[in-house]
Amino acid sequence: MCDACGCGDVRIVPVELHERLLAGNDRTAEHNREHLRAHGVVSINLMGSPGAGKTALLEATARAFGGTERLAAITGDLETERDADRVRAAGIRASAITTGSACHLDAEMVHHALHDDIAHGADYLFIENVGNLVCPAIYDLGQEANVVALSVTEGEDKPLKYPTMFRNADLVLLTKIDLLPALPDYDRRAVEDALARVMPNPRMIAVSARSGEGIGEWMKWMQRLRSPQPSRSAGAAMAT
């Protein structure tokens, strides 16, 4: 019903917006990034399936740095602080985000965690995302780089099955390579081939949190993030 004369006419008013659905998340992510950069903190969004070895990787990284770098972590899980407890025991200052039923972290959750001063004085901040190869891929958190942990027991074709996740990765860590003797059919070249089809700049480091193999190379890769990069991936896919 028309408010002016009661004639009952309804006009259709088109509004052109062309606005990213994640525009709000992206703004908060940019704010996080500026804050972390201003404080000299290199932040890494660590993603991967549940059980890919993300937490073990952080433990091994802390052992390898041996206190020479100050490490902090935000760990995301649906329930429990178990991952935060584990990385704390390894000497990493940690804060847990329990998401309830949410399948990913978003920039607002990370922003909230940063308010607890978790990254204060840190050289590196790891944001250990919820174990999931789907949903976390599109949420920019304000990280400097996206790293995906892919364990050898997940098979060689995961990148082809979850292309959005791997496309947004700056680095893939092939984890649990100490298990390779038990996987005689595992074909590392097949993983590399799969990555080349979904990542424009494929980069993979094979590591074992158990034996420490490859961890040195991973640390060097992290350290290179310290030098200024020409517009590193902002993580999430950008609208075209």
Binding site: V13, L17, L21, L22, C103, V134, Y139, A237, T240
Partner: protein
Amino acid sequence: MHEYSLVQGLLDRIEKEARAHAASGVHRVTVRIGRMGGVEPGLFATAFEMSRVGTVCEHAELELKTEDVRWACGVCGCDIPQGRELACPSCGWPARMVGGDALVLERLELEVNGHV
């Protein structure tokens, strides 16, 4: 199932736009989703159906435009077919995605009472 949180954000955004135009309802919502935008269009539509009850979008039609993935050479611009190695066959330069990662609220058609 991040589609539900995306739809919630979308509904909040539309609510704001509807208020700004003093709209009584929303006739149509057009969203563009790339095939590598990280969103499943079917799930998105279901999430919209379930979440819009009691909102300004209660009777709105959701129009989803899907967008194919397209890769091209970052230098010479030649097309690189999806599924191939993401490097230019001629110059070897890494491919660049030129379509298929959209997740965009394109357009609204608002229902506004009365004459112009």
